[in-house]
Symmetry: C2
Subunit: 168 residues, 2 copies
């Protein structure tokens, strides 16, 4: 197994890069279309992904892999745009809950998940076994990359894909 075809590595890296780039690019376009920046959209999506539609700055920072200071500034902008609101926690008054406003929920409806669009449409067309295969591969790659970095918190969009091909 150590006598591997080197081309394989290249090929997989190239493919990975294409995926990365396509997604990044797409994320930017999407956010722009929704009148938000990519980071802002991400925050919104994380919050929307929570069962109670709420998240503390700390949690956001962790899931996004940035500092709290950064989250504060992004949330400031979201507040200014009226898509979220800060609600001091009842139980622990050091904490703040960032919650989605109605406007915010609407904004999210407009701008669905970046990965979706192009990708999901194709994905659902595949045969069952192919999907299974793809998922397995992706998960494998993912675990190769974030090995030690725990969490891997979902962060999917709103009503996102819970109906896959059929919804919306």
């Amino acid at each position: 197994m150590s006598e591997t075809n080197p081309d394989r590595v290249d090929e997989s890296l190239i493919a990975l890069r294409r995926i990365l780039r396509a997604t990044e690019q797409y994320e930017r376009d999407l956010a722009a279309a929704a009148g938000l920046s990519p980071a802002q959209l991400r925050v919104l999506q994380i919050i929307a992904g929570k069962p109670d539609m709420t998240a503390t700055p700390k949690a956001l920072a962790q899931q996004m892999g940035v500092t709290q200071a950064t989250v504060t500034s992004v949330v400031d902008k979201l507040v200014a745009r009226g898509v979220v609101r800060r609600m001091p926690s009842e139980t622990d008054r050091r904490q703040t809950n960032v919650i989605l406003t109605v406007t915010g929920r609407a904004a999210l409806e407009e701008a669905p998940d970046a990965l979706q669009q192009r990708y999901v449409r194709e994905f659902v067309k595949l045969a069952d076994w192919e999907q299974a295969q793809l998922v397995a591969s992706l998960e494998r790659v993912a675990s190769m990359m974030d090995a030690h970095k725990m969490d891997a918190s979902p962060v999917l969009t709103v009503g996102a894909i819970d109906g896959a091909g059929k919804r919306k």
Copy 2:
């Protein structure tokens, strides 16, 4: 085939996100370690990936999916750090060639590709058929995502992986 398990889509999206996030995070760390920012590092890598170790701002902008203005500013910083140099083109004097300096090449050696680090090491451990499987899956996903967006320019690092498991 249209009666697909919806969870599959979710799972694949989650995995994709993990890959994305792991890479982004890693890119930041790496760049920081090399005293460069992620964008700067990317420019360096693209240039290094060219056979002649040179690229015009226009080409860089296209490959990175940003505007030329952005490239200008990033290149400015790279020049300030002495890792690249601007060389007016001989053939078309509107064009500028951004070339790697010796220092730049050295810097790249220090800060290898983000995807590599974490991923390649694991990849080469896999059995041959598994590698083949992964490559196929990744390429499939990639093509589902960037459908019309052509290029998919390699952009591999310096001596990158041309020896895969064996080098360095």
